[in-house]
């Protein structure tokens, strides 16, 4: 009985600690960002002439758009592929192949992001360069990120499809309904909240990814006018400049970090909303 009380206390403390870490990170970012926001307000970050940190111009819009485009492109590519892969594994592949396939997806999900970046840098970028120079571009970033999030989109979609109540599927099978008809009208609609929740979480991951994106995107601060132009994402910007940034410049980087964190928190909230939908 006594051990039980201590166990409960220990677990509760551990749980609170890990939950409060997020709060501390948020507070830390706000604290680090507030001096500059207090001084010049939020407006200049979206209205300044450009990103010239030495001259005090901190225009974040191109990098915010860069992050959104790279992540959005990756999600647009990875979502249909992931859903198709999951449908194949769940409904069309022979069981042995499906198991192998799932195993491969799990392995792919475990590949370090820098490896993807490396592959992108030496294979993908030269390849795109031949199509449309310079090669290091929004497209390269979106492709590398798509590869990175694809396995987890596929695995979460797979889990969501597997969670569709058997009674619906048995009912459909007992009526001799076609496999594709059943998938289209029953399985996909029922699993959709779960699939979307996976997609949204992976969007968050794509937004936050730094290393691979930094290696293949070219890192020019500009609003891209095509998929083949280089971009710089918020994350890459922080990684590139944090080592030498001082004063206002450093604070501006913290502000971009805060912006990213808020974006991700919003996405997680959206994902948990989708998950609740599936449970209802």
């Amino acid at each position: 009985m006594r051990t039980n009380i201590w166990l409960t206390r220990g677990l509760r403390t551990a749980a609170w600690l890990s939950a409060s870490i997020l709060l501390f990170i948020l507070l830390f970012l706000i604290q680090e960002s507030s001096p500059l926001i207090g001084e010049i307000g939020l407006g200049p970050f979206f209205q300044a002439d450009g990103w010239y940190p030495q001259e005090g111009a901190f225009q974040l819009t191109p990098m915010l758009l860069g992050s959104l485009f790279v992540a959005g492109g990756a999600v647009l590519l990875a979502t249909p592929l992931g859903i198709i892969a999951a449908l194949f594994g769940q409904f069309y592949a022979p069981p042995a192949l499906a198991r192998l396939y799932r195993g491969l997806m799990e392995l792919l999900a475990g590949v370090p992001s820098v490896v993807f970046g490396f592959w992108g840098l030496v294979v993908l970028v030269p390849w795109i360069n031949r199509l449309a120079p310079p090669g290091a571009s929004l497209l390269a970033g979106a492709l590398v990120l798509a590869l990175m999030i694809l396995p987890l989109v596929a695995l979460t979609a797979d889990a969501a499809l597997a969670a569709v109540p058997q009674q619906y599927l048995r009912g459909a099978a007992a009526m001799g309904l076609s496999r594709w008809g059943t998938i289209q009208r029953i399985t996909l609609p029922v699993a959709m909240p779960g699939i979307l929740s996976g997609v949204v979480l992976q969007t968050g991951r794509a937004l936050g990814e730094t290393m691979a994106v930094l290696m293949v995107c070219g890192n020019v601060v500009q609003i891209p006018s095509s998929w083949f132009e280089p971009v710089r994402t918020l994350t890459a910007n922080i990684a590139l400049e944090m080592s030498y940034a001082v004063d206002q410049h450093r604070t501006a980087l913290f502000i971009s970090g805060l912006l990213l964190l808020l974006l991700t928190i919003t996405l997680v909230a959206v994902a948990s909303h989708f998950r609740r939908m599936q449970h209802e």
Partner: protein
Amino acid sequence: MKAFMNVLKRKQPMNSELTTAFQIETGSSTEAFAKKEQSLEDKSRQKPLSAPGLTLKKVNVRYGDTNAIEGACLDIPSGSITALVGPSGCGKSSLLASISRMTDLTPQCQVSGEIFLGKDNILAKGTDLNRLRRRVGMVFQSPNPFPMSIEENIRFPLRDHGMRDESVIRKTIKNVLGDVGLWDEVKDRLGQSALALSGGQQQRLCIARCLALDPEVLLFDEPCSALDPLSSAKVETLIKGLKSRYTVLLVTHNLAQARRIADHVAVCWVQAGCGCIIESGDTRSIFERPVHPITQAFCQGLQG
């Protein structure tokens, strides 16, 4: 009998419309559909409309190394209700599932022997399962309407089986919902989710959904055991009313129910570790003059 005549009256014009509707259509499943409607129409001219009976010959159902049921032989005559009764785990539901080849969905489940639906051995290789399951409708223990609207629960299976004519679909929806006594209850909210219906209504919708595909055999797997007594009575009456048009096989735990609605009864039992049919015959003789000692004890409520 009156209800039966009404059904026929309603069926005939509907069928002729169906055939014309389908002549316009192309595609193999549609052709099969059209052919079937044609033959149905022919059948309904030579009254009484009769579905083929079922004959089970030495049917074994195995799950891996375990025998669920062995050597089951049974004649299930058309136009009547046959009840499969027996204690839990005696393989009745497995036997029922093998008739629509739902056993194929269970990995490691193997069915051997012969099951004849009319002249076709449905266990034969190359049986078109989707076609078979159209001919053999199945209703499960817990109601399982699809997560869509009431009318979509009927429209979706019809369309999936190649029916495209919306006016025929509408008519079918109305007819089958009428057949299960649900039309008056739901006609004003056909667009609402089927999951919002009560359990009994859901079960009747599931029956209607089966009827829409115009099956020949209806399999019921303890259709009332998840329902309250009132809904249960409604479903029971409904099944009783269906027997003139279909071959009905009913698995039930409820002996009183079997006695009330079945014309024939088969008793399943576990012997030497696997299920088998120990006695079958018409309901009265099984309940009043059982031959097998276990049947005697079981039917008098002494065992099982």
